[in-house]
Subunit: 381 residues, 2 copies
């Protein structure tokens, strides 16, 4: 069947996002002094955001606000370097505080995105203080006893963790590529078990942080002027180029980013037998990842049924118009919550309906990081 | 084994190509009158270049010159629109002539790159005039009796075609993605039969012609200034974005570019059973394609042996340094003849040594089009 279906949910339609809107929102600074928020909800949890000045940290605040996440108080935590900066959040002004071992007293939920080493040091401290930590780093993802959660996929993995029990806990946010991939693949997997998955990624600058996004922009301006590009974050030209993901390469030849897809999929699906291989590539795109995914199923699943399943899947939008060649793009999903999937077709290299090829795009900072973490926090309420 | 091998053949090392060098070379124009080349070789074939003003047409001339291709005369042919333009080639001046049915009298070898409809109309006319046509379009690729040739891969397919026999012929140049893929995969296939191949491409602007390269540059300048990007060649923003290949989508859900990889591989390998699937994506890169390729073999082939095979393969360079994360990039292969391959590793999703993942980059205009065609012409000499 010729697929002509296009589902334009709330997030689609209208012009593409402007270039400047792709950047992490700068922290609104203020010269007025610290003020207490008048609209605090006494019955709501007290929050802390660790790494609040980073790209994901800033997106944590956007998402909390967009989703009207209730809170009694919120602590803005960062490194000593950023301490003292002032920022405005929901009409209240805050001073960024230095992250220390004492930061978590009275904190119910701590959202961490300050890199693996900060999480390793301060995550357990926060949990020992009774905070439930939702950690965006890879520090604890593969640890037994730490749930690795995509709320639409495996909410039950964290059902034993309760706020207000006085007991702290660690919950890990999966890697961005894993979240975006499994948002689209899991609904199919629930219908017909996925035996093997071959993933090739097209990853945005944002995965390497705000400075990498700035470097891509700077390099592009330089290259267009015929200048040698500035290479600080990446060791090579990124503008008008692409390269194998910059994560360290392991002894099996996979880089760490690729092995996250392999291992996290097994843990999230609680399926140690699922076969996954991945090739992760950095492309000169600002903030949304794309993934080409080839699937091998245990039982037949035809493309029409797959499309119908995906249309109904929470957090997923289908963009799959073959007639006008309209499929997901990173730009279209930028700043959006939903993961977009298209190019849904029977794999001609497999027998019958045992294989599908699909193409997925998702905002790396939002569903790939901050949104997923805030959704985890919402499940605690 | 930790791979630390880096083979830097002639084409590697030194600075990355400058941005301006990535563009198709503009035709050197001249105000002096048409002149006869003094160094003509009377024993050499007379050539014609059809579509000489296009990106690939210009590259035909560069490659002919770089490789000191011998010729008695050379006709510069293009559409009526370009007829009358003057250009300099190897210190001689030429006037671009309008392509007509009379263009091929006395022409021994005609290199075509003017689109499929021009090839369909004028290819058979040229062949009937006794010319051997090397056609870069898709017009005849799948026709029985028309060899589809990558000289390093299947030279024998054209061994029955002789210059000077008085009989014309058509020879097809494969699609750029197919050439780049099979340059790296065939040497492995010759050692252990490839049963199945899953390809995801990262394709440059050049595949859509010089105007697409200009549009990518223009759009990037516009987007950086906060302007709405000009979309003429592609219907959507290309700068800092990527999208499913713009080729028409067929009823099976694959686009034509993807099906070329599927069908051309079968024909070039003369193996109707090889299973291929592909997802073709356009990325904001100027002139070299990249491909993530997952391979499934009939017999075990370990990664060390694969690497050794590829190091010895003609027209292939291995860039595979895991320690310093140095792998092929489109920028590095731009303006170069060789196809680069790296990220050579055992596929962890397959048993034993029956699978490999590799990453390939090749210049789309050069080996993906003009160089391969000129190499075919060389085999006629």
């Amino acid at each position: 069947m010729q697929a002509t279906s296009v589902v334009h949910r709330h997030f689609l339609g209208g012009d593409a996002p402007t270039f400047s809107s792709l950047r992490p929102k700068p922290i609104p600074t203020t010269t007025t002094s610290f003020a207490i928020r008048m609209s605090l909800r006494e019955d709501a949890p007290s929050l802390a955001v660790v790494g609040v000045t980073g790209a994901v940290g800033q997106e944590f605040l956007s998402v909390l606000s967009d989703r009207s996440f209730p809170y009694r108080s919120i602590k803005m935590l960062a490194s000593k370097r950023s301490a003292g900066k002032k920022l405005t959040f929901e009409d209240n002004e805050y001073v960024v505080e230095e992250l220390t071992a004492d930061s978590f007293n009275g904190v119910n939920i701590a959202l961490f995105s300050a890199g693996g080493s900060i999480s390793k040091e301060f995550g357990p401290i926060a949990a020992n203080c009774g905070s439930v930590v939702v950690d965006n780093s890879s520090a604890f993802r593969m640890d037994d006893g730490v749930p690795l959660v995509i709320p639409e996929v495996n909410p039950d993995a964290m059902s034993h963790i309760k706020l207000g029990s006085g007991k702290g806990a660690l919950i890990a946010n999966p890697n961005c590529s894993t979240i975006i991939c499994l948002m689209a693949v899991t609904p199919l997997h629930q219908r017909s078990k996925v035996l093997r998955m071959v993933v090739s990624t097209y990853q945005a600058a944002s995965g390497a942080g705000a400075a990498a996004m700035e470097e891509l922009e700077l390099q592009t301006r330089e290259v267009l002027k015929g200048k040698k590009p500035t290479c600080k974050i990446f060791k090579q030209q990124y503008a008008f180029n692409l390269f194998s993901h910059n994560a360290p390469v392991l002894s099996n030849g996979y880089n760490e980013e690729e092995m996250k897809l392999v291992k996290e999929t097994r843990k999230i699906w609680n399926d140690k037998d699922v076969k996954v291989t991945a090739t992760c590539i950095r492309v000169p795109v600002m903030r949304a990842h794309a993934e080409s995914v080839n699937l091998q199923f245990a039982n037949p699943l035809d493309e029409d049924e797959a499309r119908e399943i995906l249309k109904k899947a929470p957090g997923v939008v289908v963009i799959d118009d073959r007639v006008v060649n309209n499929f997901p793009t990173p730009l279209e999903v930028s700043n959006k919550d939903d993961v977009a999937v298209g190019r849904i077709r029977r794999d001609v290299s497999q027998d019958g309906n045992y294989g599908l090829d699909i193409f997925i795009c998702g905002d790396q900072i939002r569903k790939g990081a901050a949104l997923n973490a805030v959704q985890i926090a919402e499940m605690l309420l």
